[in-house]
Amino acid sequence: MDKPILAVEGISKRFGGLLAVREASLTVESGSITAVIGPNGAGKTTLFALITGFLTPTGGRIVYLGADITGMPAHRLARQGIARTFQIVQPFAGLSVLENIAVGAHLHIAGRTSALAAAADVARLVGLDTMLQQPAATLTVAGRKRLELARALATSPKLLLLDEVLAGLNPSEIRDMVPMIRAIRERGVTILMIEHVMQAVMSLAEQIYVLVEGHTISQGPPATVAADPKVIEAYLGAGAAAKLAGGAHGR
């Protein structure tokens, strides 16, 4: 097997008295879709901020393409091919959709005209091509999520971190978005995603990590993780796994 594109090794982040991420570890294989799931407040978004250089870890190591990138600032990581979307969408509200995406395209393209052309190509890929001139502030939630995705894609990333791109979307919007994520992977982009929409996670991800109270408690393919008693207890409370098992036997 290839060397993993990303390896997070025992990473921790402390905010004063709160240990938000506690020796979390995960490995992302090149070309895969890997998901991080976990209850609210488990530290998933903090983990993403650590990987993408928005926060500096208090302990542990992050290795990307064989090089230690721990503590490297966000813009340099972006240049090396790590892109992210934000859970709370962060559009450049005063700019048009096309100009928003062009900022991403400018990472590797200096010329204004070619950057705008590249941005238009990416917009087509995510289905925003009919609203290029529209101000980003006027987009719907679904539109803004697509814009987040488009901007990140425009930087031509090797590794794309998606922070709940499906949250807040209705079922039909989710049905549109899932094949889009798959198509991005088909283009050779490795994906690490945080997601609460379980149906989508189960169908998209090859590998799932479960983060609870800042710690990775379980990992494996979707079916394995879903059957793990530790995971069931984390979501449904202590003893839940036993009760479920007992209930099944008692019937």
Binding site: F54, A78, Q90, A93, G94, V103, L107, R112, A115
Partner: protein
């Protein structure tokens, strides 16, 4: 698209260059020189504040440094006015880079950034009012030496063309920024710094570059002030008046647009003069007028007069054209 962006600049500058052929009134030319001086300082503020979203309250720091550097190099070191002018701009840019490094590296944003820039300008004003090299309280007087060699002109028209050329340069630089990758990054930082960083924008460096260019323009205005009036003291060079007027012009005219500062500077100066004429010379009344205008603009035309003009023109023309004008100011 990129070439046509410079046509309006050429047209406006050419039209303004003809004014001395129409009138030789010193009152009119003096008024225009002062308005263009303010345009230049305001364009400097606009690069950092309008495009970069970093609202400085202390552009006097750069204006004053340019003015003092030009004057001191000539008076105390006997340097020719031309290199002194160039060095004045460079010194102002350097002060901008230093203040920018200190503030942006410590992550100051918004009102904190504004207050710190104000503090820097005030510290420089106080230092200049006591330091021997600036002439302390007496100020610095540049020797009258009329001639192109000393960058001093008998006719107001020559000074007018000189400041017009500087403003033309600032307009072209602003347009170039607008159409470049650097400009896209700068606007991205203004709109959302975190999102910009995630897309590979080195926000600190972009802001620092903008501040250096911005300071250079404000310093050029200061250099010109020294050459034109041949006298500066701490209250003129580093006084809050220029910090205020440099931000009023673009805010009233239209922040983040190429012509906003020019439009705003003309309006501010017309209103200031009108107020003086109506009431006699009540000191400080022009400031009251500025305050009222600022409130009106912020309340009713937050994107400035340029935007209002564009929208009015749009009502008369086709809607598609309107959108393009709004986008390119």
């Amino acid at each position: 698209m990129s070439r046509s962006g410079f046509l309006p600049i050429a047209a406006v500058v050419a039209a303004m260059a003809c004014i001395p052929f129409v009138t030789s009134s010193n009152v009119v030319l003096n008024f225009l020189v002062v308005a263009l001086l303010l345009t230049l300082a305001g364009q400097g503020w606009n690069v950092l504040g309008g495009y970069g979203g970093q609202y400085s309250f202390g552009h006097a720091a750069f204006f004053g440094t340019g003015a003092y550097a030009t004057a001191i190099l000539q008076v105390r070191y006997g340097l020719n006015a031309w290199p002194a002018f160039a060095l004045g701009i460079a010194t102002g840019a350097l002060v901008g880079a230093v203040i920018g490094t200190l503030t942006f590296r410590s992550g100051l944003r918004g009102s904190y950034f504004a207050l710190v820039t104000l503090a820097f300008a005030e510290v420089l004003r106080i230092v200049a009012s006591v330091a021997p090299i600036t002439g302390a309280g007496v100020g610095t007087l540049i020797k009258l030496d009329v001639g192109a060699r000393a960058l001093q002109f008998q006719s107001r028209a020559a000074f007018y063309w000189m400041i017009l050329a500087l403003v033309a340069g600032a307009l072209v630089i602003t347009r170039l920024i607008e159409q470049s990758r650097f400009g896209a990054w700068l606007v991205a930082v203004r709109e959302n710094e975190d999102a910009a960083r995630a897309l590979g924008v080195d926000a600190t460096r972009v802001k620092l570059s903008a501040m250096t260019i911005s300071a250079a323009m404000a310093a050029a205005a200061g250099c010109f002030y020294a050459q034109y009036f041949l006298f500066i003291d701490a209250g003129i060079a580093y006084g809050p008046w220029i910090s205020i007027e440099a931000l009023l012009a673009p805010i009233i005219g239209g922040v983040g647009t190429v012509f906003g500062p020019l439009l705003g500077a003309l309006m501010v100066k017309v209103l200031g003069e009108a107020a003086k004429h109506v009431t006699g010379d009540v000191p400080g009344l022009d400031l009251v007028v500025y305050g009222v205008v600022l409130i009106l603009v912020v309340a009713f035309a937050p994107r400035g007069v340029a935007d209002v003009v564009a929208r009015l023109r749009g009502l008369l023309k086709r809607p598609a054209k309107k959108a393009r004008e709004a986008a390119h100011g």
